[in-house]
């Protein structure tokens, strides 16, 4: 029982990272119509920059600045590389471009910071176990859950109540009309892409505190994030979060009984969802096809 | 244009109209059909009959529900209420594929073609579909010759022989629309639905299309239902006209009756000034 709880909680934490990644991916997918294969790269950028800056800024400073820098770099990448190819209606090209970026970022990370894993020091205040019996529930892990919840709620409020958010939602449902209404959709898409990358960076810093840093960490988190979006339903941000948590939890539970299947199970879940409910748990009808 | 010239057009059209086919039962019938989008009733309780062999126009101001009306017949949309009957069969819930197999074929307001392929290749897809061989992973010589002969035949009917090898996406707009009609024709339609066949065309292109539609009707024996904004064409070739306004049938009858109908003149023809 203790083992099951241990694995389930670990899975949930993993699911939180998937959810954060998926949230950013889904934002970019819906407004920019780009499958950002480099999303894992932005996660790595956020994490490693936080690692490098934490001796100067402390953990808290790095937690803020790392994701922000990932967002700014994302903004620059969008303006320099992705904007020129929006006009090509075939999504193949943005997929290949971000794919290339993913390779470059992983390789350069390895060159700059080395292939071996690095630890991100987390302040003792939040790193001690909350209870003796449930030693795996550390303060940091609760903190991760809290920050993620805050970020998701923050995003929800932003999309719901700010002018920028309303414009992003409008652009998602009908880009041409939004442009015709005088909204600068180039700026909007750039900002949105930056936001997405900021979420990836945040996932990176938080994950680094639990898992440590390795160059391929981003590219190994990106596939489950796809699955999170497919299960949750394309077009639904809440679905992406739900999907991420679900697959994390499922993987954790399966680890207890049949560890070898802990990765495969999330893809099996996806196949089942696709077969039974093609649009995903919370997806809009028709959007998926 | 004014109602007066419309009337003249109708008068000159009368002698040209093909003789009415003697159909015992309605070929296409819509019974109290409605289609709602949210609170908007795009098509509102429409009943409609069309006989086999007819050349019928559907007219109406923008937003009258003409294209929705076509979508309901062709199966792009299911009706919210009512029934669609074609050739004695209730097709209200049948698939697009089933309707095409029964002979209902349509074109679109915005030309739907295979832009990177040649005229020949565009029509080939239709011919192979019509012959029921389009799932075959190989093709024998005899079959290929038969297919090619049929394609050439269709290209000749629509007068595109000199452009057969041209890429459709690079043709003039008018020719692209003719290609779309030829592709529709290739699957052997019994009822051809043309959504604004002359939209965006120049004078000579329009003339070519009007002539084509008339020949399809008289020579190929295809029943034609078309949406059109140009009243010269409508009153020039249609044997019967259905007027839609705000989703409802405002009037229905031969051209002379429509152009004389005070309601139509008030609601529609007057507006076209």
């Amino acid at each position: 029982m203790q083992l099951l709880l241990f694995n389930a909680f670990n899975g949930l934490i993993q699911g939180v990272f998937y959810a954060l990644m998926a949230l950013g991916l889904a934002l970019i997918l819906s407004l920019n119509s780009v499958i950002n294969m480099a999303h894992g790269g932005f996660l790595v950028i956020g994490a490693y920059l936080a690692y490098t800056l934490s001796p100067y800024l402390g953990f808290w400073g790095a937690l803020i600045v790392g994701p922000l820098l990932a967002g700014v770099i994302g903004l620059a990448v969008e303006r320099g590389l992705i904007r020129p190819i929006y006009k090509r209606s075939d999504p193949l090209y943005s997929l290949l471009l971000t794919f290339g970026l993913a390779l470059i970022i992983e390789d350069l990370t390895r060159t700059i910071w080395g292939a071996q894993g690095l630890p991100l020091e987390v302040p003792d205040v939040i790193n001690s176990p909350v209870s003796e019996t449930y030693f795996f529930i550390t303060g940091y892990r609760l903190f991760v859950i809290g920050i993620t919840a805050a970020a998701a709620i923050g995003l929800y409020l932003l999309l719901r109540y700010t002018l920028l958010g309303i414009r992003i939602r409008a652009g998602t449902s009908d880009l041409e009309t939004t442009a015709a209404l005088g909204v600068n959709i180039y700026k909007l898409r750039a900002l949105n892409f930056g936001f997405g990358c900021l979420f990836a960076g945040l996932a990176g810093v938080l994950a680094a505190g639990v898992l440590g840093l390795t160059p391929p960490m981003g590219n190994s988190l990106i596939m489950p994030s796809f699955v999170a979006i497919i299960i949750g339903g394309v077009g639904s941000l809440f679905g992406a979060v739900l999907g991420g948590l679900l697959i994390g939890l499922a993987a954790g539970i399966v680890t207890t009984y049949y560890p070898a299947a802990s990765e495969a199970v999330i893809y099996l879940m996806m196949l089942i969802v696709l077969a039974v409910r093609p649009r995903g748990l919370l997806g809009e009808e028709g959007l998926f096809e | 244009m004014s109602a007066a010239t419309a009337h003249e057009a109708a008068a000159t059209a009368a002698p040209m109209a093909a003789p009415q086919a003697a159909a015992a039962w309605p070929f296409l019938q819509m019974v109290n059909v409605s289609r709602r989008f949210g609170s908007l009733k795009a098509v509102d309780d429409v009943s409609f009959d069309m006989a086999a062999g007819e050349l019928r126009a559907v007219i109406g101001p923008n937003g009258a529900g003409k294209t929705t009306f076509f979508n309901l017949i062709s199966g792009l949309l299911p009706p919210s209420q009512g029934r669609v009957i074609f050739d004695g069969e209730d097709i209200t819930r049948r698939s697009i594929a089933h309707r095409v197999a029964k002979g209902i074929v349509r074109t679109f307001q915005i030309t739907e073609i295979l832009p990177d392929l040649s005229v020949f290749e565009n029509i080939r897809v239709g011919v192979e579909t019509a012959r029921g061989i389009n799932a075959r992973p190989w093709i024998g010589r005899g079959e290929r010759i038969a297919v090619n002969r049929r394609i050439e035949e269709l290209i000749a009917i629509v007068n595109l022989t000199d452009k057969a090898r041209r890429i459709v996406g690079e043709l003039a707009h008018g020719d692209q629309r003719v290609v779309e009609v030829a592709v529709a024709l290739s699957v052997g339609p019994r009822l051809l639905l043309l959504d604004e066949p002359t939209a965006g065309m120049g004078d000579s292109e329009t003339e070519h299309m009007v002539d084509l539609v008339r020949r399809l009707h008289s020579d190929q024996g295809v029943s034609v239902l078309f949406i059109e904004h140009d009243m010269d064409i409508v009153f020039g070739i249609a044997q019967r006209i259905t007027v839609l306004d705000r989703g409802r049938v405002l009037a229905d009858g031969p051209p002379e009756q429509i152009s004389a109908d005070p309601q139509v003149r008030a609601a529609y023809l007057g507006e076209a000034e």
Binding site: Y93, S94, G100, L103, A264 | N134, P137
Partner: protein
């Protein structure tokens, strides 16, 4: 040069490859690898370039073919032809079974789902260590000499190259026939305008399924040869990175052209071989190749000559 002459010249160059390739610093196995990847990418291009389905997980079927062949040799029967047959069936049937889940999707969703499905097989292979060798890959098998009646053909590097060339020729003939057939015409029509086809009474999904399944068989076929070439296969052969490499090879050569993928494969495989001997950061350069092709060269080598290959 006419088309026929070009193709004849190409085949003569391929037949003579074991003589000329070493002269310019290559080796026969590199020639085999190019042809194997050419089979895989030309197969994938049936979906990608001709049917318009963004299949981004094709390496899964390539790898399954490889594991199918390797495991046949290692555990079942020491026969090269049977290894090829069984491997092809394993990968091809996997694609056929999963086809219905992807056939209705379009554009980016088609891509996402095919990538994610590919990862399922990746993890099955990685975690099923006792049988597949896990992360370390499957070794301990070797291609067997071919027995034709009383004649025994030893599969040396050069003879194996000719086996691959024979397989390439067969695959090319099959794919060419398919693309000239009504089925092939329907695929291209789906790529061009799905709606037009629907309103001709065709249900596009079934044809997308056929395309995906056939591409799966052909890629798996190439995968079996790949395992036999190295007498080894690893999870990298199913990884999404390889799927991406396949796609960029196709784009590099020209995705609207039948032989485009072959050209892309030659350039990419040779560049990869060369870069990895030159620098540890070859992955960065491969990534740069991706970015540069997309930005500057989206129509590929063949696209330069073909007006019709526009980037819609």
């Amino acid at each position: 040069m006419t088309r026929a002459a070009t193709i004849a010249a190409m085949w003569i160059a391929l037949i003579a490859l074991p003589w000329w390739l070493p002269l310019i610093g290559g080796y026969t196995a590199l020639g085999s690898k190019v042809l194997i990847y050419a089979i895989a990418t030309m197969g994938l291009n049936l979906v990608l370039g001709f049917t318009g389905g963004l299949s981004f997980g094709q390496a899964a079927y390539f790898g399954l073919g490889g594991y199918g062949a390797g495991m046949t040799l290692k555990y079942l029967v020491p026969s090269t032809p049977l290894a090829i047959l069984i491997g092809t069936l394993v990968g091809g049937l996997a694609a056929t079974i999963l086809g219905p889940l992807v056939m209705r999707r379009r554009g980016i969703y088609f891509a996402m789902i095919t990538i994610a499905i590919g990862q399922l097989f990746y993890f099955v292979i990685v975690r099923w260590n006792e049988v597949t060798g896990g992360e370390d890959g499957l070794a301990g098998f070797g291609r067997q000499d071919i027995h034709l009646g009383n004649v025994v053909i030893p599969l040396t590097d050069v003879n194996f190259y000719y086996l691959v060339l024979l397989c390439f020729t067969v695959a090319v003939a099959v794919m060419w026939t398919l693309l000239q057939s009504p089925l092939g015409h329907t695929w291209v029509a789906i790529r061009e305008n799905r709606r037009r086809l629907q309103f001709l009474g065709v249900r596009p999904e079934r044809y997308v399924w056929a395309s995906f399944a056939i591409a799966g068989f052909i890629t798996a076929f190439a995968g079996t040869l790949n395992a036999l070439l190295f007498n080894f296969t690893s999870p990298q052969d199913l990884h999404w990175i390889l799927s991406g490499d396949f796609v960029i090879m196709i784009v590099l050569g020209g995705m609207r052209s039948f032989f485009g993928p072959l050209i892309g494969v030659i350039i990419f495989v040779v560049a990869q071989d060369y870069l990895s001997s030159l620098t540890d950061n070859w992955m960065t350069f491969i990534g740069l190749i991706f970015v540069l092709i997309v930005l500057l060269f989206p129509r590929g080598v063949f696209g330069i000559f073909d007006r019709r290959a526009k980037i819609a």
